[in-house]
Symmetry: C2
Subunit: 197 residues, 2 copies
């Protein structure tokens, strides 16, 4: 399984945001695109994918490729799914998530909790400008790509990732948006390290 964990530092934790101004809603435009990039192909969905969005270190919305039914490619409808998840936030109690829509779960979980859950399920790869070139890194069987939104990872987040053995990987010489990095990461895996097209 391929996983993506995107840290949304300023993402909303309250459903009362406007779908007409997603950049103003803690860059939910970028987070929504990261989710669609994680799952959508031209004519279908990547089922063996899990994606977590950490919202302002307070909630985590988890998307499951095998269960998703309402994911469409545009930012607005995906942001609406995040809003639906936040509308169910009071049903997420302690470590028990709430299912807000098919394949969309909300957890009362910040960066530490989301990262611990993901680290138990695969190999952490931190997409980072200073990482090892991806073409020199062996493809892990169950990669968990960890990305930051428009802000850099905080020092605390960098430490957390280092403690959990995250490997830093660079996908190219240019610093990409998180959603673009998700797309390139998939291409890296799809082509078995750019060898099989």
């Amino acid at each position: 399984m391929r996983q993506f964990l995107v840290v949304g530092h300023e993402a909303p934790t309250d459903p009362g945001f406007s779908l007409d101004d997603l950049p103003g809603a803690g860059r939910l435009d970028l987070l929504a695109r990261s989710v669609t990039s994680a799952f959508l192909l031209s004519h279908g969905i990547r089922k063996a994918v899990r994606c977590r969005l950490v919202l302002a270190d307070e909630f985590t919305v988890r998307f499951e490729g095998r269960e998703l039914r309402n994911l469409r490619p545009d930012e607005r409808s995906t942001a609406a799914l995040v809003r639906t998840a936040l509308e169910a936030r009071e049903n997420a109690v302690g470590s028990i998530p709430a299912e807000a829509a098919p394949g969309v779960y909300i957890h009362r979980q910040g960066v530490v909790g989301a990262l611990e859950a993901a680290a138990g399920e695969g190999t952490l790869l931190q997409l980072h400008e200073d990482g090892e070139p991806a073409n020199e890194v062996e493809l892990p069987a169950d990669p968990v790509f960890v990305l930051s939104d428009h802000q850099d990872f905080s020092e605390g987040e960098d430490e957390l990732l280092a403690e959990r053995g995250a490997r830093r990987v660079r996908l190219g010489p240019e610093a990409l948006h998180a959603d673009q990095a998700v797309t390139v990461a998939h291409n890296w895996l799809d082509t078995e390290g750019w060898t099989a097209f």
Copy 2:
């Protein structure tokens, strides 16, 4: 210079569409994402890029990286730029384009006209599932990537591209959305064919 030409078969040619339903406006969500993927990096813009959106074989909106000032990463604001271009459509007369915003031009030009203009400026590459594997194709100096929206190229478009010597290239084993393909194409070039990270 890198160029992208995206054929929007059902794209609006009238500015009277709603920014609240971009998928319903001839998949303008996808076209807007293709434009932002062509230009935006994490902290800046790719200046040496030109992108053309062909709208329903009637108008072409041309974006110039060196001149763009108002391109933001979200779909809605980019779709609003397309709307601004369409509001200026009556000023595009014959072969003379109208500048609707800094770096945003509208031409009275369909697929044939846009393709002829682009073909004179570089090497045509048709991103196509049946193309040659990108890792076996030599990087052209001035690539012009030609992509289709959610629909396949029509037979007529395929013929036009073949007549103009377009080379078919495959970026991986999965069929990607146009905007994702733009991102991977950039990564191919950024890394000099996935050799330089």
